[in-house]
Structure formats: structure tokens, C-alpha cells
């Protein structure tokens, strides 16, 4: 995903000279192609995420579409008020990119477990929140973000370079993308856990449909409601705390639609997510997912 990100950003920057890239002193052996080709639109600002975000807003005010880049919680939670007040309130064109969503940096410990970002960021007005599940979704979102003004968030896995399903249709932001058809039960996965979900669904939930949810906010309520009509049961799965994640966003839409009489029946929705606790041990991404119950089951 990192590679798809930087490759697409370089392509976009070639034809769009408003693209600016700021790294918070990370990206060794990943971001060099951008730095080398566009030295006057690249900056390593140092390990200073608050400054990075503020400087990005200043650049955005003067016409740049600025991508800020760091690891896990550093470009987001570390500078959250700059994001809320400077980026989002001023609707500044700052796209925040985090590498290592979920437990991608599992062995590195709690500082590097990025498991509340979606929930926190999707409560902030104007913020577009995305968590692609494969390189094609990553590229599509990067292209889109290069062309839209305003704030954005892109959560990347470290690896995750396998293409999942076919990107036959173009990205519809906020809508679930059908990865495979099925009946009765729909699994909606967001982010890199899509790859696991696709691998596990055949044995654990044969016949179920699989959807990917790469853009979580703003959500396409209409299409989510369509899914709720179509399926008896929905399972959401994400590498994020149970509170406030993609599953919560789905439940909110469905519940609101029911309350407003748009839906006259609600499906049974089961949310698979991290059970609102810290993980204070080391472990690979696969190990920590399993330990936290991120396993598809009926």
C-alpha cells in the first residue's frame, strides 16, 4: 500500500503542480521518488507533527494540496487540535497520510498501535476518512484526494500489496464496494483486514457476500441502506476499536434510517472490532488480530 500510495502520488504530482508532500522524518526507502522528482514540493519537516500540520495549512492557504505523512498515531492524534481547528474548521486542503494502520507495527507496542484513528477523525466535520483494503483502492483514493479540496485522511497498512477482487467499478466514496456476491449474509471489511476476510470467508462463511468499505466518512447512506434491505445479516470487520469505527458508522446509518421510516426492518448487525482495550504485548499483525478476536465467525 505504501508503494501504491507513493507511486500514485508521483503520477498525480506530474500533472498537478499543487501537490505538496511533507514527511515527519519518516519514509526511508519509500518516499524518495517523490523527493527526487519534486524537490521544491517536498519537505522533511522533522519529528514535529504539530508544526507539520500547521505548516501544511499555511501552504494550503496559498493554493497547495498538501499531503502530510508519518507513522500510526503521529500525524493524527499527536496533532489532533491542529487537525480539528486549523485543517478542518478552515476546510484547508490537507490530506493526512498514516502508515501502519491497526496492528501493522504490532511488535513495536502500544505507541504504534493505530486503533482509534477512524473513530476520532470521523467525528470532525469536513474530514474525509479512508482506509483502503488493497493497492487499487489506495491508488483510487489518492487520485481522488489529489483532485478534491479540503481535508482528508488516508490510513495505510505497511504491506498489503495484494489486489483483492476486481476494481471493475470506479471508487464510489462512502459506499461499500462489492468484492464478491452472496446471499443472506454480507461481510463488510474496512482497511487491510480485507485481505484476511477474503481469504477466510470461503471456509468460515461460505456463500456470504463480501464488501470493502475504503471510505468511511462521509458515508454513502443510500447505498448502505440498500445493503441493509438486501441482507438479513451483516458482519462488519475492522482493525480498530469497537467504539466509533466503520461498524459503528454502519449501525448509525441503519438505525437512523429505521428511525426515520426509510427502513421498515433492520438487519442483524454484528461488529467485529478490537474490544475497546489496549494491547500491551508485542505480536505480529496476525497474532494481535487473533488475540483481539478479529476473526470471522457466524
Amino acid at each position: 500500500m505504501r508503494n501504491a500510495f507513493i507511486k500514485t502520488l508521483v503520477e498525480c504530482a506530474r500533472v498537478n503542480d499543487s501537490i505538496f508532500f511533507i514527511s515527519g522524518d519518516v519514509g526511508y526507502s519509500v518516499v524518495e521518488p517523490f523527493a527526487e522528482q519534486f524537490p521544491d514540493r517536498f519537505l522533511n519537516i522533522g519529528i514535529a507533527e504539530q508544526n507539520m500540520t500547521g505548516v501544511a495549512v499555511g501552504l494550503a492557504k496559498e493554493g497547495y494540496n498538501v499531503f502530510t505523512y508519518s507513522i500510526g498515531n503521529f500525524p493524527t492524534l499527536r496533532c489532533l487540535e491542529q487537525i480539528r481547528y486549523d485543517v478542518c474548521y478552515h476546510n484547508a486542503s490537507v490530506k493526512i497520510v498514516s502508515v501502519g494502520g491497526g496492528f501493522a507495527y504490532g511488535p513495536l507496542g502500544a505507541s504504534h498501535h493505530c486503533t482509534e484513528d477512524i473513530g476520532i477523525l470521523r467525528t470532525i466535520p469536513n474530514m474525509v476518512v479512508s482506509a483502503p483494503g488493497d493497492p487499487l483502492e489506495t491508488s483510487a483514493i489518492v487520485r481522488w484526494m489529489c483532485n478534491i479540496p479540503g481535508p482528508g485522511y488516508l490510513r495505510l497498512n505497511k504491506g498489503g500489496d495484494r489486489v483483492i477482487g476486481e476494481m471493475g467499478t470506479i471508487l464510489v466514496p462512502g459506499a461499500p464496494r462489492e468484492v464478491r456476491a452472496g446471499r443472506d449474509l454480507a461481510v463488510i471489511a474496512s482497511g487491510a483486514i480485507l485481505e484476511y476476510s477474503e481469504g477466510a470467508i470461503d471456509t468460515l462463511l461460505p456463500g456470504a457476500a463480501l464488501y470493502s468499505m475504503p471510505v468511511i466518512s462521509p458515508i454513502d447512506a443510500l447505498r448502505v441502506v440498500q445493503l441493509a434491505r438486501q441482507f438479513e445479516r451483516i458482519i462488519t470487520i475492522e482493525e480498530h476499536q469497537l467504539n466509533c469505527g466503520m461498524g459503528s458508522a454502519i449501525v448509525e446509518v441503519v438505525s437512523d434510517a429505521y428511525a426515520e421510516g426509510i427502513l421498515n426492518r433492520v438487519p442483524c448487525i454484528k461488529r467485529i472490532a478490537i474490544p475497546n482495550r489496549f494491547t500491551s504485548v508485542a505480536g505480529t499483525q496476525a497474532y494481535l488480530r487473533q488475540m483481539n478476536g478479529l476473526i470471522l465467525q457466524p
Partner: protein, 269 residues
Amino acid sequence: MSMRPIDLSLRIRKKALQLCHEKGASHLGGALSVADVLAVLYGEVANVNPKNPSDASRDRIFFSKGHACSAMYAVLQELGFYSGVEDKFAQNGSIFTSHVSHMVPGIELSTGSLGHALPIAAGTALAAKRKGERWKIYTILSDGELDEGSNWETILFAPHHALDNLVVIVDFNKIQSFGTVAEVLALEPLAKKFEAFRWRAIEIDGHDHAAISAALARAASASDGIPTAIVAHTIKGKGVSFMENKLAWHYKSPNADEYRAALAELEGV
């Protein structure tokens, strides 16, 4: 318990190498650069108690550059806080995460997000002052993390509150994650910056045990209301020629050949 720093620093380096080699971990360069500071601090100066890690009278040591955990886990094991880190380090289900964790006996604070420890150390120092405690508070910072504004808020705060019980040691190894300090965000003149903020700044060779020892002694005897910053000039990767001053060794884990060659160099010293 005291341990000769000269022995301890070698053991720290060897153990850090072993941990990074066997478990495929990163951040060896910054572990090797800080080994001598840790050896003198833990071996000779600090009052810590492996039998009772939360002994109320202990000196508080905050290791802000948590990514260099291999050195920290090594020194605490050498002192007897625990054993078997070589089996557990960075493994599934282990508390020995590859940034220092406060679940591990002897570690005051989990760090890994840079620029967090100094404010907490200052709060601890303030508590000691308010309670009339005589123990000291040591905080080890990397040079790169001085990019973070959080540190500078505390650098302003500590002298204002006369926290002469607070000692900062900067592992000034001149390299951060994606370039040299001079390229990315220059710090020099660093000692002068601390002085301008009304700190006592002591500049030393951070691999010279006598100099480290003398600087720590000066800091420990302070009673003038002025906090001490020891600017320790070090070499990232110190002790292994092919790792010294190389950005790549912020990331790389030594393979079998590199491990053998590195051990041979260290033992030859």
C-alpha cells in the same frame, strides 16, 4: 549494586546486537550510541533496586527514545531486574515490545512516540520538590526528538520551577530517521539553546565514561534551582565500524555475517 561501566557498556552493546539480530528488530544504531550513557548512569550513578523496582526512594530514569529499547532491556537485565529477554524480546504475547514498555520491571514509562517523556519527568521532578524528596530524575532524549515542541515547553518550564533535581541527557548522535540532524532540522548550538532557557548545559563526549560520570556528578549535586542538560556528543552505531554514522542502521537488523563481524569488533576492543 554497582557494576563497572566499562564491562557494562560492552555487555549492553553485545546484548543489543543479539536482540536485534535474533529477533529481526530495528533501531540498533541508537542503541549503540546510548550504551555508554546507560552504562555509567545505571552502573555507577543511579540508585535503582532490581529487587524492588518500585522502591519509593529510587531515582527515576525516563528513556524517551523508546525505539532504542534493545539497549535499555539489556542494561536492566544485566542489573538483575529480570532474565530471559533474549527469548521474549518482540515475540508474540511478550511484554518486551520493541519500544520500551512500562509493563517491564524497571521501566518507568512506555515510550515510542517521541517527545513524551520530558514533560512527565518534569512532573515527577515537581512532585519530588513538593514532597521534599531527594531522589533525582534522569531523562534520556534523542537528538531527533528535540524537533518536537513538547520538549521545548518543558525546557521553558523546568527552570521556572527551579527543578534542579531534573537531569536531561541528550544522545546527540547527529542522525535521525530520514537524514542527519543538520540536514533535517539543525539543533546547534544546542548547549547554548539550553543556556538561553536558563539550564546548566554540560557538553561532553558521550562515549567517555569519565566525562559522563563527572557530568552526572555535577548534575546530582545541584542545589541552585537550575536543571541540568548534558549534551552528549555520540556516534550512531558506536563500536561497530560498519554501523557507525550510517542512517541504514536505524532500520537494518544484522544478518548472521554482520552479527559475527560486529561481535568480533566489540570483543576486540
